[in-house]
C-alpha cells in the first residue's frame, strides 16, 4: 500500500496561529513527498477538526496522518482514536508539536514558522515508515493487595471489599490502626480519634472479603498490572491466632516489662502483648527480643496459664504467595525525631515532649489517664507549643508538614480544657489553616485564650538568668511582631514534630518498582491530574506515604485509589502499549547486558534458547535496552532506526 499522507496544521485559536504562519506551513507540507492533502484549521481537536481527517481518509484514500498542533501528551490519544474510527491502524499517525516547541517558546514569527516547517517535515518523513501495531490486552486479577493498615489502608480496603472484591490487607505491626489510633482528638471537629476509627477497624477484621495479615511484611513482588505475584512474610508471633481469644491471662502472667511503642514509651507493656485494648485482631504477640524464654531458655509462664493452648514457641516465619491484579500502598509516615535539633533540648531536658507523646498523655486511655503531668507529677501551669520542628528547614525537611499548625492549636484547646488556669503559648512562623473549619478553629483557640507569638524560638534552655526563670524551661525567641528578643519561662514544651517518610520507603519503592522523590516520599504519576497512580501501572498510593497530609485528605485519597482499582477490576482487562522493544533472537548473543539495564525488570534470559526475551506487558518502551544491546539485536517498535533516521533527515531537510 503506497503511503498517502494527510497533513493538518492546527491554529489552536491564536495559541499557534498568532506566532506560526500556519497557512505557509500547510502550503509547505504540500510540497513534501507522498503528501496528498494538507490543510490548516482553527481547532483540530474539535469534532469538526477530527471529521476533516476522517473525511480525507475515506474520500481521498489518505492512509498516513500528521497533525501539527500541541503536545502528544495532550491529544495523541484523541487523534489516534479519530484515525482508528476512520478505519486505519492508530499507529499510522504522527504528531508534530508546533505549540509548546514553536509558538510558545519564541516571539519571532519567522523563527517559529521555520521550526514548525522542520517539525512537520520530520513528522511526514517519519510517518512514511510507520508500521501497523496492535496493542495487547491482558486480564486483570480481581484481587487487590493493600500495604499498610493505617486509616488510608483501612479506607481503601473497605471501599474495595464492600464492592464484593477480595482484598489482602498487610500490616507489619501486630494490629491495624496506624498513627490515627494514637491520636486523642482530631482537628477541627474534635471527634475522638479512636471512636471514629475503631468501628472501621472492626469492620476490616470481620469483613468476609478482607484477608487481614498483621505482623506481616512484603517480601518480594513480581509481575505487572493485572498480574502481580507477591510474597508475604508472616512473622512468627508465637501465638496461634486461631486459638487465642485475647483473654489476656498470658499478659498478666508475663514477668517482663518493655517500653510501649503505642504509648510512645511513656508506659510499659509486657513481652507478650496486645498493643492497645481495641486491637484488631485481638490476639497476643510475643516480642522475641524481650521474652525471657527466648533470652534465657526458661519461663514459658504464658504457655502454662493459657487455657486454650494458643502459645507456640516453635512457630516460625511463614512465607506465603498471593496473586493480585492491583496494589495500593498506604505505608504512612514516621514522626520527625526532634533530638536532632539540640537547641530544643528534646531527650536532654525533662518536660520537653514530642507531639505524639503529648497525644498519648492527653488521651484518657493513655499512660497518665488523660492527665497532663510534669516529670514531678504536678500539673504544668504554663506550656509552650513550638511549631515547624523539623519542617520548613533546609537542614531537616524543606517542606511544610501541613498538619502541625492545626494539631498544635488542637493541643492548646485541649490544654485549656484539661488544665485549670493553664497559660498556653503558640510559637509559629505562619499559621497554615487551609481546610474546612480550620481557620474558624484558629479563631476559636484565640478566643479561648491561647497566646500566639510569631517567631521561631532560638532555643529552649534550663539555664536561668533571673530568679523567676529558676526551675523552669525558658524559651528564648524574638517576638517578631514587636521586634524584641524575649525569654519566656514555662513548665512544659511541646514540639510540633513534622511528618517524614518511613525509614524504609526507598526499599519499598524498589520492591514495587515505583519512584520516590528527593524527600523519599512516593512519587505520584502526575502531581495534579493523577495524584493516586504511580508510573508503574497497577500500583497506587494514598496517604502520607505520598507526602504530608491530614486525615480528611488521606481518606479522600484512599477512596480515590480504591476507585481507580475498581475501574480496572470492573473492566477486567488492561491494554498494553504496543511500542515495546523486541529482541531479534537470531542476532541475540545472550550476553544479558539488557537484563541488567532494564529499569522495569521486563527482560529475562531464557536458559534453554540462550537468548533474552522481553515481557511486553512489563516493557514501558523506554529504549534503554535498544541503546545498550552490543549486537544491535533489539528493536523498539514505533522507534525503529529507519523511522528515527527519516525523522532526523526531515528536520535537516
Amino acid at each position: 500500500m503506497e503511503p498517502r499522507i494527510g497533513v493538518y496544521v492546527c491554529h489552536c485559536g491564536s495559541n499557534i496561529a498568532a506566532t506560526v504562519d500556519v497557512e505557509k506551513v500547510a502550503e509547505y507540507a504540500r510540497t513534501l513527498p507522498a503528501v496528498v492533502v494538507s490543510r490548516d484549521y482553527k481547532f483540530m481537536c474539535s469534532d469538526p477538526g477530527q471529521d476533516l481527517i476522517k473525511k480525507d481518509i475515506r474520500e481521498l484514500g489518505v492512509n498516513r496522518v500528521v497533525v501539527a498542533s500541541c503536545s502528544p501528551l495532550m491529544h495523541e490519544p484523541t487523534f489516534r482514536r479519530a484515525v482508528q474510527e476512520a478505519g486505519l491502524n492508530p499507529y499510522y499517525f504522527q504528531m508534530a508539536n508546533v505549540r509548546e516547541h514553536c509558538s510558545w517558546v519564541t516571539e519571532s514569527r519567522k523563527e517559529a514558522t521555520e521550526k514548525a516547517r522542520a517539525l512537520v517535515s520530520a513528522a511526514v518523513r517519519r510517518v512514511y515508515f510507520h508500521q501497523p501495531l496492535e496493542s495487547k490486552e491482558v486480564p486483570v486479577h480481581p484481587d487487590t493487595l493493600v500495604v499498610g493498615g493505617g486509616i488510608a489502608g483501612i479506607q481503601a480496603a473497605l471501599e474495595i471489599a464492600n464492592s464484593g472484591h477480595k482484598v489482602c490487607l498487610v500490616e507489619r505491626e501486630p494490629s491495624i490502626g496506624g498513627h490515627m489510633m494514637q491520636l486523642d482528638k482530631t482537628f477541627p471537629t474534635l471527634d475522638c480519634s479512636a471512636c471514629i476509627l475503631t468501628p472501621k477497624m472492626s469492620m476490616v477484621g470481620a469483613h468476609p472479603s478482607i484477608e487481614l495479615l498483621t505482623y506481616s511484611e512484603i517480601d518480594t513482588v513480581s509481575g505487572y498490572v493485572g498480574n502481580f505475584r507477591v510474597k508475604i512474610r508472616k512473622k512468627a508471633r508465637y501465638v496461634d491466632v486461631d486459638r487465642c481469644n485475647g483473654c489476656g491471662t498470658c499478659i498478666t502472667k508475663c514477668p517482663v516489662k518493655v517500653d510501649s511503642e503505642f504509648d510512645e514509651k511513656l508506659s510499659k507493656r509486657k513481652a507478650i502483648y496486645v498493643p492497645f485494648a481495641q486491637a484488631v485482631p485481638n490476639v497476643t504477640t510475643i516480642d522475641r527480643e524481650h521474652c525471657t524464654y527466648f533470652l534465657k531458655g526458661k519461663c514459658r509462664a504464658c504457655e502454662k496459664f493459657c487455657e486454650r493452648n494458643a502459645i507456640n514457641f516453635e512457630q516460625e516465619d511463614e512465607l506465603i504467595e498471593i496473586q493480585v491484579g492491583n496494589v495500593i500502598l498506604t505505608t504512612g509516615y514516621r514522626l520527625f525525631d526532634p533530638s536532632a535539633i539540640k537547641e530544643y533540648g528534646y531527650g536532654r531536658l525533662d518536660n520537653v515532649l514530642t507531639s505524639l507523646e503529648f497525644e498519648r498523655m492527653v488521651n484518657s486511655a493513655g499512660p497518665t489517664s488523660g492527665h497532663i503531668l510534669l516529670k514531678n507529677g504536678k500539673e504544668p501551669e504554663s506550656i509552650a507549643i513550638i511549631h515547624c520542628v523539623g519542617s520548613r528547614d533546609v537542614k531537616y525537611h524543606e517542606y511544610c508538614s501541613r498538619v502541625c499548625c492545626m494539631y498544635g492549636m488542637k493541643f492548646a484547646h485541649l490544654l485549656l480544657e484539661h488544665v485549670q488556669g493553664a497559660k498556653v503559648y503558640e510559637f509559629y512562623i505562619d499559621i497554615r489553616s487551609p481546610g474546612k473549619g480550620y481557620e474558624e478553629f484558629y479563631n476559636r483557640v484565640q478566643r479561648e485564650g491561647a497566646v500566639f507569638f510569631r517567631g521561631r524560638p532560638g532555643e529552649v534552655t534550663d539555664v536561668a538568668l533571673t530568679p523567676e526563670e529558676k526551675g523552669k524551661l525558658i524559651v528564648q525567641f524574638e517576638d517578631t511582631l514587636v521586634g524584641k528578643q524575649r525569654r519566656l519561662p514555662v513548665d512544659m514544651v511541646v514540639l510540633c514534630s513534622g511528618i517524614e517518610p518511613q525509614s524504609d520507603s526507598q526499599e519499598m519503592a524498589h520492591k514495587f518498582n515505583i519512584s520516590i522523590g528527593k524527600e523519599k516520599f512516593f512519587t505520584e504519576k502526575h502531581p495534579k491530574l493523577d495524584p493516586v497512580a504511580t508510573m508503574t501501572d497497577g500500583v497506587f498510593i494514598a496517604g502520607c506515604c505520598q507526602g504530608p497530609r491530614d486525615i480528611p485528605d488521606t481518606v479522600a485519597q484512599a477512596s480515590a485509589a480504591a476507585a481507580r482499582v475498581l475501574a480496572l477490576i470492573n473492566k477486567g482487562k488492561v491494554e498494553i502499549e504496543a511500542d515495546t522493544a523486541v529482541v531479534d533472537e537470531d542476532r541475540c548473543s545472550g550476553c544479558r547486558v539488557c537484563n541488567l539495564l532494564c529499569p522495569y525488570n521486563a527482560i529475562t534470559y531464557i536458559e534453554k534458547d540462550k537468548v533474552s526475551r522481553i515481557n511486553e506487558a512489563l516493557c514501558k518502551g523506554c529504549g534503554t535496552c535498544v541503546a545498550g544491546c552490543p549486537s544491535g539485536a533489539i528493536t523498539h517498535r514505533h522507534f525503529t532506526n529507519e523511522q528515527i533516521d527519516a525523522e532526523l533527515q526531515g528536520i535537516l531537510a
Binding site: E343, C388, R392, D393, V394, K395, I429, D430, R454, G455, R456, P457, G458, E459, Q476, F477, E478, D479, T480, G483, K484, Q485
Partner: protein, 184 residues
C-alpha cells in the same frame, strides 16, 4: 510609582560574599531568638534583614545594630533557610565603613587595635592592644578593667612585654598580599 526606595541596597548586600540567599528569608526570627547580644541591638537581626530588603539603608547603617555582632554564628547555624545572617551583618559593617557611616559604638576601634596587634607581633599582645583601644576611646574606662588586668598579670596571662611569633616576615608577606597591611 511607589515610594519604596528599592532595591539597589538589597542588590548590593546580596552581592556580598555568601549573602546571596537574603531573598529567601522567611522572617521566622530564629536568628534574633538565638542571638547572644540581640537585647542590645536597636533592630534585632531578623529586622536588619527586613530593613535591607525594604531598602532602609540610612536608618539601618546609622543604628547600633550591626556593630554588636560577636560572630557566635548561632543565627547562621540555626537559620532554616541557610541565609547566613552573620555574614550579612559583617557585610553591612564593611559597607558602612566604606561609605563613611560613623559607627555609634567603639567596635571598629576595637577591631583596628586588634588587627594592628596581629600585624605588629603576629599574635595578640593583650596589654598593648587594650591600652591602645582605651587610649583611642575612653582612657578612664581602663580603670574599670584594672582589677581583671591585675588578676591576669598575676597568673602570667598578660605579660607586659610583647612576644613575637616565629617567621614574622612570612606572616607580614601574607598580610601584605591580602592588601590589609597598611590599612590602619
Amino acid at each position: 510609582m511607589s515610594d519604596i526606595p528599592h532595591t539597589t541596597f538589597l542588590d548590593e548586600v546580596a552581592a556580598l560574599p555568601a549573602c546571596g540567599k537574603i531573598n529567601e528569608c522567611i522572617q521566622c526570627g530564629v536568628c534574633s531568638g538565638s542571638c547572644s547580644t540581640a537585647t542590645h541591638w536597636e533592630y534585632p537581626p531578623r529586622k536588619v534583614i527586613a530593613m535591607v530588603r525594604a531598602g532602609m539603608k540610612d536608618e539601618l547603617l546609622k543604628s547600633n545594630s550591626i556593630w554588636f555582632c560577636v560572630s557566635c554564628y548561632l543565627c547562621t547555624a540555626r537559620c532554616p533557610r541557610d541565609i547566613k545572617p552573620a555574614n550579612i551583618v559583617h557585610g553591612l559593617e564593611s559597607i558602612a565603613i566604606k561609605e563613611g557611616y560613623k559607627p555609634p559604638t567603639t567596635t571598629t576601634t576595637m577591631y583596628r587595635s586588634f588587627a594592628q596587634s596581629i600585624v605588629d607581633h603576629g599574635r595578640v599582645y593583650e596589654f598593648g592592644f587594650m591600652l591602645k583601644y582605651f587610649l583611642r576611646t575612653n582612657p578612664f574606662a581602663a580603670l574599670k578593667m584594672l582589677p581583671m588586668a591585675i588578676q591576669l598579670f598575676r597568673h602570667g596571662r598578660m605579660p607586659l612585654a610583647p612576644k613575637q611569633v616565629k617567621g614574622k616576615e612570612e606572616l607580614t608577606t601574607i598580610i601584605n598580599k591580602m592588601g590589609e597591611g597598611g590599612d590602619r
